[in-house]
Symmetry: C2
Subunit: 449 residues, 2 copies
């Protein structure tokens, strides 16, 4: 560590265990190992220096953005060095003509979105954490979000990357253009690789035209399945919502207890749907009709941006509200759209069978559910009945043709189910790819694959 | 070969050189080597058998769809076996609820699109060749097309693949869901890999809602740069066209000579713009205005689907029309959107300086140009002045922040410029990845990377 400290500019390395501990964990309950220290990188050169040193001394490195991950990918292990990119916060270029931005990895997601909006553009990917998470972290996990249903995930906005490899070499991938097929898609390989293949030090991302107007529908239902049926109807009718979010009663209750949103006693589910199309009012009215036709007890439509922001703001509180109830195991299954009602029933059944509190929100338009398993504070890890219920939920998602993780990633949390989805050939290939980039296995070892 | 013939069902292998020759080339001028034979695969098992045999005997295999490629990726080499997938033409599943189809690789692209439209959906990627090219070939090259400007390239519609690896093992990648981040993005790695990593035997692709209406603008300009300026204005105004195509006079003249479209003597360029938004008429009217404001000599707007199909049909004739003029070297540079006018000037300058006929069409909304270098029939390859002009065009594209290939791929044709774009680290990594999948280098050796 003395050598690393000497090789970096003054003040880049933290070694006081009281301070480093907060850099060693993400948003999960997982307890980190004891890291040797934390590098607060401020430039690509800092990252190169750190990786060269790590290669020389075979020290595991855990790259890290803001630590808002929900799968344990940024959890430090014993004897590792945490490499935090959160101080690399420059927006290096923002070109309205090319609809492209070039950013450092520590840029807060919402900050880039705001910068783009000054030019009538937006940065589309918006994980719920987007006010605190970084672009680098979003890229490393291929983060999703609320607007995915129309604009796709982080991968769909990533054009090119600068990456520092395990041995300190610098790799450039991708391009600044809208299209390009020179060589294999290395950009796509890094996106979602959870820091196991390299450290992203710069990204060229695509911006999109910001919508001129939005119209928003909020609908309450006395049954969760009715709400899910409304989701299917909205998709089938071709309404093309720019946001289609579902919250169950447990989630709504947690938000209501905290923020007093005036929750009706009979409300079992709420749907928030938004259209940002040029005929957003008409599209929203159609979505409201479909909610009514599927048994909504209450439906409201608004063309006001302020009301829309408020409603979506309620949804963005969901995770924090649930953290008030206890410790959380946040899950992230994604099923084919048509299987959403069935998946929701399976979650309800698992909660009842194992007597576990599960609060579910869903990016419903994508078939992506977040069942949050709430358990007692103070426990080191979820009790057996929570794991049993989670196991049931995972297996049911796979049985329905779905996946273990729609947008949060595998990290450490989902490794024990990974083989159920990936199979032996894919697993072998993935480890082969890992060896090409990181033959010494020092980059976030044990995560993702 | 006897062993391979015996291992496959009767009739799967062609060895008569007169017959195999037509399977050994693509749409380029490149002369293929002498293949040992052609396998006409009808099932995954045929592919597995072929690859096991090829691994055992170290025989290079050239996977192939319909042979409509424009970069030489499907050009056979001496002593190779061509593995054609064009007989695997089943649409195995088409789910309107999930907006997903599962297809064999030999399905003709436009056939899938038509099948989807029966359910109010579409398969968005539409390379100009889409009436004759296959989904497998489109995946292998990450084909683009006219609708890319709104709906993205083939990659953006590929959810999951079944792939036979070099040694005959079967790998499944990806998923059926809209989102998913389990493991590295192997689907993305295969898309655009030009048959060098594995043979795609099944694909799960995303369908999209078919637009209810389209409005189309055709505008003629007396200067190509004016047309390019109109493109920039349309993008900057946020019109979000679903198609934005540019043709230069040489292209128009070739089409006119063939199909008599009544080309005006003063027309130097034509722009075709389309909107399929719910307010398509309004969007098209705005695009027409912007054409007028940028010096269009003639502008027509139509809401009729028949007229739209006719206009777009004219554009789709471009390549065939040019083939009537001579042999073609079809290029495919892509530049940041704002650099389109500059790139067009560079192409015109290169044509003048080297006294070469270049006919340019562009997916203008994406900054993707196809300068087609026309040269004399009967020549074995383009004469030196064509290569010199092409070299200038490539270097200028890179200097403008662009790429050598937006959608056609590297194949054999662009290999000599590859290092200019990729750099040594990316090249080494790509060869490392190739070795993970194909350690004996039998899958389409010498292509793509």
């Amino acid at each position: 560590m003395k050598e690393l400290i000497a090789a970096l500019p003054v003040g880049r390395v933290l070694t006081d265990p009281d301070v480093t501990e907060s850099y060693a964990r993400d948003r999960t309950f997982l307890r980190p190992g004891k890291a040797l220290g934390v590098v607060l990188a401020q430039s690509r050169d800092d990252v190169v220096t750190t990786m060269r040193w790590a290669t020389e001394h075979r020290v595991p490195v855990v790259p890290r953005g803001a630590g808002t991950g929900l799968a344990g990918a940024a959890t430090a292990m014993d004897g590792s060095v945490v490499l935090s990119l959160h101080r690399m916060t420059s927006i290096l270029d923002l070109s309205p003509d090319d609809e492209v931005a070039v950013v450092e990895p520590g840029v807060i997601t919402a900050d880039l979105d705001r910068a783009a909006r000054e030019h009538g553009l937006m940065y589309a990917p918006d994980p719920s954490s987007y006010e605190i998470s970084t672009i680098g972290g979003n890229l490393a996990t291929n983060a999703g979000g609320l607007r995915c249903v129309k604009y796709g995930v982080t991968r769909d906005s990533a054009l090119g990357l600068e990456v520092v490899l395990a041995d300190g070499r610098v790799l450039e991938t991708g391009r600044r253009t809208m299209k390009g097929v020179t060589g294999y898609d290395l950009t796509g390989l890094f996106v979602g690789s959870e820091g196991t293949l390299g450290v992203i030090t710069k990204a060229t991302v695509r911006l999109r035209r910001a919508p001129a107007e939005v119209a928003t529908v909020a609908a309450e239902f006395s049954s969760l399945r009715d709400a899910a049926a409304a989701v299917s109807a909205i998709t089938a009718a071709g309404c093309q919502p720019s946001l289609l979010e579902l919250m169950d009663r447990t989630t709504l209750k947690a938000i209501d207890d905290w923020k007093n949103i005036g929750l009706d006693p009979g409300t079992q589910a709420m749907l928030i749907a938004q259209s940002d199309a040029s005929d957003s009012q008409r599209a929203a009215a159609r979505m409201a009709e479909l909610c009514d036709a599927n048994g909504a007890s209450f439906t409201a439509l608004s063309g006001s941006p302020e009301e829309a922001a408020e409603l979506v703001g309620v949804r963005r509180l969901a995770y924090q509200a649930k953290e008030r109830l206890g410790q959380c195991l946040v899950e992230d299954v994604c099923v084919p759209r048509s299987a959403l009602p069935e998946m929701i029933s399976a979650v309800e059944a698992a909660a009842a069978r194992h007597d576990v509190m599960i609060a579910t929100v869903a990016h419903a338009g994508d078939g992506n559910l977040h069942p949050v398993f709430v358990f007692e504070r103070g426990l080191e890890e979820p009790p057996p009945q929570v794991w049993a219920a989670a196991d049931e939920v995972f297996r049911e998602a796979l049985a329905l043709g779905g996946t273990l993780t729609g947008e949060h990633g595998v990290g450490l949390l989902k490794r024990r189910w990974l083989a159920l989805e990936s199979g032996p050939v894919a697993t072998e290939i993935q480890h082969g790819i890992k060896r090409v980039f990181d033959p010494l296995n020092i980059l976030n070892p044990g995560k993702a694959i």
